[in-house]
Symmetry: C2
Subunit: 285 residues, 2 copies
């Protein structure tokens, strides 16, 4: 496995690979790998002749009051895990390489990013779409793999790739979970033991919502009321948002008459957790 | 020469060309070719093993009150001229192919686009950077050639390519002029005979400014006063802007102590003309 720090070098390696007719798979990450990341890489490994993974904690997608500085990092551990999964290139640039002085350009998907996470964290999606555009130009993948835990991010990237005619296949992977159902996240390490229990309210409320859906409930107000009541019955918990959106547009809907996602963002103590569920899909925990 | 209307087909052709190790040159245009366009293509012809030219009158870079509908078009003439210059692929998509319903994504270069044309036509540069990003993803060029008549556009595209790590060389070509010095433009056909004479005030005022510069004048207020007085001495003429900017940032400067451009936009009757001059460069008319 090759560790690459320079944009120019990564582009040269990728270009030479493409010329040889080899298919490049790419998993962009912020590092601090858990099983969720490794599962994305395993899919990438099968999809491509070569597999690139980036580790870059993107300052443009954190607000000044958010956890950019505190975001967990462990490069040596990540390197070892990536090597074991069969990654070919680990691209890990520094901030000066990615955002040199005088940087001015942004990529923005409107509409789709106005709700949910986009609404709570307006700077977030512009940071994600901009850095992903840069990474796609640097790594030159044929296929890229995103986790569906960040559902709106996955939908936004798919939309950006479509709108800007990027010649890239975007694969969305089911969320990887702990055995008790908690969605894997680098931020889970922030949870104190008593908060860890309350964190299960997310997956359990998703299961509750799916059960209501399976008994025929289609009114999103009814479903959301049940979800909110269930979650707020736990200690240390504060709901940031709980919404039902059409997956095609990420706009709120009042009745579930098309493919729809229940998306949650919940503060558990000082940790913000997200999870989601597409109604009608399996939820085997 | 192949005429291509579909994004997918253009991408497939370009990808196969790249795989064969061949270098793609690309000239994006809005059609209605004049010698200026053909000169860009001739440079592209020398730069690439293959030459792609696009014709697309991009609605996103016109405001509702501007001349999108009236913008001159003559596909058959353009096709014949392109063929004579040795273009390999003429990419000419329709609006539904470029901006299907539900389109939401924009690319924006801030700062550099706040002055001059960007100030007078705020929607303009976002339209240009967005459509160029799309075209670059569709045509997949190694090198692209822009005219420097649209100086701020050229600087903006260079900045976008740099910021977004597009692996593309951007070449800026000197403005092609009529024998009397008028910068070639598709919009020149709008000029009535008496307006055509007043249109020469642009190039003549650029020459006047260069003469002042050569005699040691560095104060931009002095130069601009002379330029404005000269231009407004002509009938049918109204200055939209006349500014001196640093080429690196496109910000106004009060003294010429770095590479600087005098940029003009002037209404002649109902036709808006632009021209510019980088101080110290040859201006042989």
């Amino acid at each position: 496995m090759e560790i690459i720090r320079s944009v120019k070098e990564m582009q040269a390696v990728a270009e030479s690979e493409r010329r040889r007719g080899r298919r490049i798979a790419f998993v962009p990450t912020m590092g601090y790998f858990h099983e969720g990341h490794l599962n994305l890489m395993r899919v990438g490994r099968k999809q491509g002749d070569s597999l690139a993974v980036s580790i870059y904690v993107n300052p443009a997608q954190f607000a000044p009051n958010e956890d950019f500085e505190a975001y967990p990092r462990d490069f040596n551990r990540d390197r070892s895990l990536a090597k074991d999964v069969g990654v070919d290139w680990l691209f890990s640039p520094d901030n000066r390489e990615m955002y040199p002085e005088g940087y001015q350009t942004t990529v923005e998907v409107r509409g789709i990013t106005d709700t949910l996470c986009g609404f709570s964290r307006p700077h977030f999606f512009r940071g994600v779409t901009t850095v992903c555009t840069k990474l796609f130009h640097i790594v030159k993948p044929h296929v890229t793999v995103f986790g569906r835990k960040d559902f709106q991010q996955y939908v936004t990237i798919k939309k950006m790739v479509l709108d800007l005619n990027m010649d890239i296949e975007v694969i969305g992977m089911q969320t990887t979970r702990e055995t008790d159902g908690l969605a894997m996240s680098s931020r889970n390490i922030y949870l104190k033991p008593e908060e860890r229990k309350s964190a299960l309210s997310l997956i359990r409320s998703l299961r509750l919502a799916e059960e209501l859906y399976e008994t025929g409930e289609r009114d999103t107000d009814h479903i959301l009321a049940a979800v909110r009541e269930f979650i707020t019955g736990h200690p240390y918990v504060k709901i940031d948002y709980a919404q039902v959106c059409a997956t095609a547009t990420m706009q709120n809907i009042s009745r579930i008459d098309q493919e729809a996602v229940l998306a949650l963002a919940v503060w558990v103590g000082k940790t913000r957790l997200i999870d989601n569920h597409v109604f009608g899909e399996p939820l085997d925990i």
